[in-house]
Amino acid sequence: MELSGAQILFECLKREGVDAVFGFPGGAVIDIYDEMPRHPEIKHYLVRHEQGAIHAADGYARATGKVGVCLVTSGPGATNTVTGIANAYMDSIPVVIFTGQVPSPLIGNDAFQEVDIVGITRPCTKHNYLVKDVARLAGVIKEAFYLARTGRPGPVLVDLPKDVIQARTEFKYPRQVRMRSYNPNLTPNAKQVARALEAIHKADRPLFYVGGGVVSSDAHKELTWLAKKLNVPVTATLMGLGSFPGDDPLWLGMLGMHGTYAANRAVQECDLLVAVGARFDDRVTGKLATFAPGAKVIHVDVDPTSIRKNVRVDVPIVADCRETLVALKAQVEAAGGPETLRRKRQQWTETIKAWKIDHPLTYNGADSGEIKPQAVVETIYELTKGEAIITTEVGQNQMWAAQFYNYHKPRTLLTSGGLGTMGYGFPAAIGAQVAFPDTLVIDVAGDGSIQMCIQEMATAMCYNLPVKIVILNNGYLGMVRQWQELFYKKNYCATCMDWAPDFVKLAQAYGAEGYRVTDPAQVRPVLAQAFGNGKPTIVDVVVSREENVYPMVPAGASLHEMLLV
């Protein structure tokens, strides 16, 4: 039977198991929206700005591990998604973005709402397509989903000219994808795995350094098993938080610029660094020349370009993280079980323990009468017992949420790691809440970041998504102010948010709940009330204005050169 391009799109989405689409209509995609009501299995969430759509699709993808889907019109609709696409690209999040395009004959004519979105997004998508023939549409969509979720995941954009959406063709969904130029290697080389295991066994001071790849490949169980059985402590990047239980004695906390003292010291003093699904980002390594100076490096990554990009590697393994850890586990078992390979490493364990005790994550002035932002995050953790999905904006709020909340499970922290996108957290929380309607979803926000996508309050209200926004309100763009304080002689240029809305009234204007907290004693009861009210809610917490995030490794310094509280 012949179907229109729009009908084909929906048939493909169904076959890919898509149940939610975040979008915003416009002239170029009106045929798709015209078709939409006939496909109630796919629920459309109308956002208030296309950036909200792409971040929500991204949040949905991070929370579920499925491919997030976003649908926008041509021109400004498409360009408004670019930040979110770059965000998903940097963090390797599987998202498929459908953009409308002017009719094929008009392409290149500077037509109304025309933009070369394929050209614009080429460097920030895993791949992208302009569909020129409706006969190719189903194949392209199949490829787009396949590319988005396999190998190193990432965003894939499909640009749909209006005439292609309207044209009709016989619908046939390909059963499998065959691309001669794309074959990610997932299976680890057995010899390399054996070398890795031998290196771990021999090491006196080994350390797991894990990143988002462990989360995206669902390797957390294998990681936890190996770390515990082989007695190897674990640190994680911001993207890797949740892939190892935050209350385990082997857990060191996050490493890097705002990493814990113990994690950063352990990196600098380990003799073996086992990097799994992490990419040695500059915020993690500090000064490269002095990073992990005494360590042999094992690096597991599905993306060959990550390996030897920034650091020398002794045992490279290009493969899926989970498959690699499964293979490691199998070799441990084949060698006679963990008992034969487990080493006590008492000195290493004791040293790490001492670092943790001597320099825990902490802050001053808990009894100063001011609300400490770190205490707010701690309270959120205590109230939720780590069972919530936390999203963050970007800046100090993000770092405190990373430091003072113990993540026990993967996919419970959704945060813009690579791109550092202010405005990400709230729409991402909406996406996560769509996926998990019964889970508490909390956006830890700053008063600056939250204003970047605040319009999505209407989306949360419209679909009854009871997302909680906890604003750590210090009246500053706090992270930049912190840099100005520490490195720019307190020249607080353009970081004081002199005017902000009354967030309580703002919530109420949308029909949501709003609370303001100024008294430390009220933090817990108000948060408890907010988390239990079943409605989209803003909690505006007025915190110590000039609180800083510590530890801090100044940009360009070595990891052990931390500024402490």
């Binding site: 460097p123 895993k126 302009l130 590319l147 691309m179 130029s181 060959p304 370009t305 030897r308 990009k309």
Partner: protein, 159 residues
Amino acid sequence: MRHVLSILVENEPGVLSRVAGLFSGRGYNIETLNVGPTLDREVSLMTITTSAPEVVIEQIIKQLRKLVTVIKVVDMNDHMAVEREMMLVKVGAEGEKRAEILRIVDIFRCKVVDVSSDELTIEATGDRGKLEAIIALLQRFGIKEIARTGAVAMKRSMQ
């Protein structure tokens, strides 16, 4: 060091900009770039010469392989290979200069492909060293214009 990369790509719109964009976006340089069809109509061959430290070359090759439309990347420096480039040079050739230029043409087995009362256009083929030598020798006659194809390369049958 200078490397010659042979890159087989899907012959589809935008593939050149994907490759060129990769180089510009990551700060790699392109010295020469040549694209042409192959026996398979769906595949084009791109030849890029670039100079960079070895770790950067490794990264360039990996990044190229990561592009979805790139089928295969061969670093010709890893193989015995023939490398050729074609060049057209328009050179001033008034009076007595002409005979001398024609001798150079003869020595380097070039061809004269266009002639006027005061200019000669010469077609030269060779590896980079030969073309540079020709340019150096013609310099003093006054080179008016140069057009070069960029290098193409092929692995030798006997490796």
